[in-house]
């Protein structure tokens, strides 16, 4: 009832717009992380559980750059992306490549091992308590659109995420290496027979996914003004849920799934059910999978005899 009366007023409409922008900003960061899951899954069918930790490392590198080396926020994000690219490739090389021929579950456990390793390493180095960005990192202003009160930080997050996703679309759709990526995800063996260096493509996919996760990490760190060693777990799980919601393996699916989860989560909190915020993403996921078993934009799995 209360919601309804609020909706009818102009103030209610402004409130809706504001929450929508909150949701899109949060969802965009989920989408950035989800893209890494979906790309890696598309190529080697591995749920890369270490991906959430790469996001966390990205946030810490960004924080370190801004707080200690006093670099510009955008430069810090770029450095975080580069560091995480290297980290992603290294992880694939050490922990997944030797297991490529063995069962997928072994690789999954190996990924979980990497994830535990990275988060405890971060706890050792940076301590157990959450850290915030210095105020100088980004001077936030508030913009008023009608009665809605929107911060420039949210617009920045939406803008940066959109640019990164467009860049990714360009790489995947228009470049030679993107074509090779699509071929590898279509059929690993045939792609190798066609002379595609599959190992290089897999490394490249990890590098791309990790860079996006790092950017997401810096943006989330700034959005909540909190960076901690265990931030990767929940964010990683939710992003994975977003990837599956959109249809795992599908790049537009990951974007859609991320936005959808972010928006629903924000509206759940706004409706006063904030203690259920971590469950809502998964509840939606389970419900959607009941109706569409391969996600919103996922390809139908054909049963072959």
């Amino acid at each position: 009832m209360l919601q309804r009366t609020m909706l009818q007023s102009t103030k209610g409409r402004a409130m809706m717009l504001q929450q929508l922008i909150n949701g899109v900003a949060l969802g965009a960061t989920y989408a950035l992380i989800a893209l890494g899951y979906t790309m890696v899954y598309g190529i080697i069918s591995l749920i890369n559980f270490a991906h959430g930790e790469i996001f966390m490392v990205g946030a810490f590198v960004g924080l370190l750059m801004v707080a200690t080396f006093k670099v510009n926020f955008f430069v810090a994000m770029l450095i975080a992306m580069l560091v995480c690219m290297a980290l992603g490739v290294l992880i694939e090389w050490v922990a997944y490549r030797p297991l490529r021929k063995s069962s997928r579950l072994s690789a999954l456990i190996s990924a979980i091992g990497v994830s535990i390793f990275l988060s405890s390493l971060a706890q050792m180095i940076f301590g157990a308590d959450a850290k915030g960005f210095p105020d100088s990192a980004f001077t936030m202003r508030r913009i008023h659109i009608g009665a809605a009160d929107i911060s420039t930080l949210q617009l920045l997050i939406i803008g940066v995420s959109a640019c990164l996703m467009l860049a990714l679309e360009f790489i995947v759709r228009k470049t030679r290496i993107g074509k090779a990526m699509r071929a590898t995800s279509e059929d690993y063996n045939t792609a190798a027979l066609m002379g595609i260096n599959v190992n290089m493509i897999i490394s490249f996919t990890f590098a791309l996914g990790s860079a996006l996760a790092a950017a997401g990490g810096v943006l989330v760190g700034l959005l909540f003004n909190s960076v901690s060693f265990n931030m990767g777990l929940m964010a990683g799980l939710k992003a994975f849920a977003a990837a599956v919601l959109g249809g795992i393996g599908s790049i537009p699916g990951a974007m859609l799934g991320g936005l959808l989860l972010g928006i629903t989560e924000v509206f759940t909190v706004a409706a006063g059910y904030s203690s259920y915020r971590d469950a809502i993403a998964f509840a939606i996921l389970v419900l959607v999978l009941m109706v569409r078993p391969t996600g919103l934009l996922g390809r139908k799995i054909q049963k072959k005899v």
Partner: protein, 293 residues
């Protein structure tokens, strides 16, 4: 009888006793997951949810109803199994990793619901009084673990178990052989949930305090690690995997802060050097035979 057993237990070093109880509970949990993931081939990332359902059922049964421990554990297992069957029906239609994420999602939902429920004391957790039983808890745990090993061995070698393994190998081939896939999957899910529920009940009473957050994603992964490390589908493997991973934090205690770091690294290395698990592809009977000759 009870006094004699109490006296025997009192002579054992409490530290060793606690570790053996932890191993026993881990064995029960791992065997349950092994039926679902090892035998039937359905990856579940939410085993801890059934454990938490069992733990809270059992704790509440002791607190509110004062049931004797054996009935209490059976009730915990039964409610957990019923929940497993109930959610199993819709989600077991999903293929592969879609199923995995659904079980994960279910576990998160269970955790959040328990965190918000008045009955489970919300986020404060429940203190669990000692169980109503003449037999001391460690012996109950060992007996339950032994029973679980025997029961799962029987399941594995029965017609039912062979049907489960057929589903793991090839669903379509199994279906054309007349195996009702949906039914067998739900049954295996319920068996796994039952064992998790019993394990959860034992866990609640052995620890004396439970909190919904203890049964998160990491707990599920812990159990999955045990069966993958031991070798999927292998019963001795589950036992060894459970024993190794549940005592690993104790072995690694001397490293203090480096403990989890080493644990993570260890998981990676074990997988790289034994990708099929410690007991994967090892046949115990043949091993014994080759030693004798």
């Amino acid at each position: 009888m009870g006094e004699v057993l109490q006296a025997v237990i009192a002579r054992i070093d409490p530290y060793f006793l606690q570790i053996s109880v932890n191993i026993g509970i881990a064995i029960i949990l791992a065997l349950g997951l092994n039926v679902v993931t090892g035998l039937t081939g359905q990856l579940s990332l939410g085993h801890a949810a059934f454990m938490s359902i069992g733990a809270f059922t059992s704790a509440l049964a002791t607190i509110k109803l004062g049931l004797p421990f054996s009935v209490n554990l059976l009730l915990a297992g039964a409610i957990s199994a019923a929940t497993g069957a109930l959610i199993g029906y819709p989600i077991l239609r999903l293929a592969g990793d879609y199923l995995a994420i659904c079980t994960l999602g279910f576990a998160e939902i269970v955790k959040v619901v328990f965190l918000n429920l008045e009955l489970t004391n919300k986020a404060f957790g429940l203190s669990v009084p000692p169980p109503k039983s003449a037999i001391p808890l460690p012996i109950v745990v060992w007996l339950a673990a032994l029973l679980a090993i025997v029961a799962v061995s029987f399941i594995r070698n029965s017609r039912f178990g062979r049907a489960l393994m057929a589903i793991r190998c090839d669903e379509i081939a199994a279906e054309s052989m007349g195996i009702n896939i949906a039914r067998y999957k739900v049954h295996s899910f319920a068996i796994g949930a039952f064992l998790a529920g019993v394990g959860g009940g034992l866990y609640a009473h052995s620890l004396g305090f439970i909190n919904p957050s203890d049964f998160g994603f990491l707990k599920s992964i812990d159990i999955l690690g045990m069966i993958v490390l031991g070798g999927l589908g292998s019963i001795p493997g589950s036992v060894i995997g459970a024993a190794v991973l549940s005592t690993a934090p104790e072995f690694l205690r001397f490293m203090a802060n480096y403990r989890m770091l080493v644990y993570g690294g260890l998981l990676v290395f074990l997988m790289i050097f034994r990708p099929n698990g410690l007991m994967g592809g090892v046949n115990l009977k043949e091993l014994v035979r080759s030693w004798r000759s």
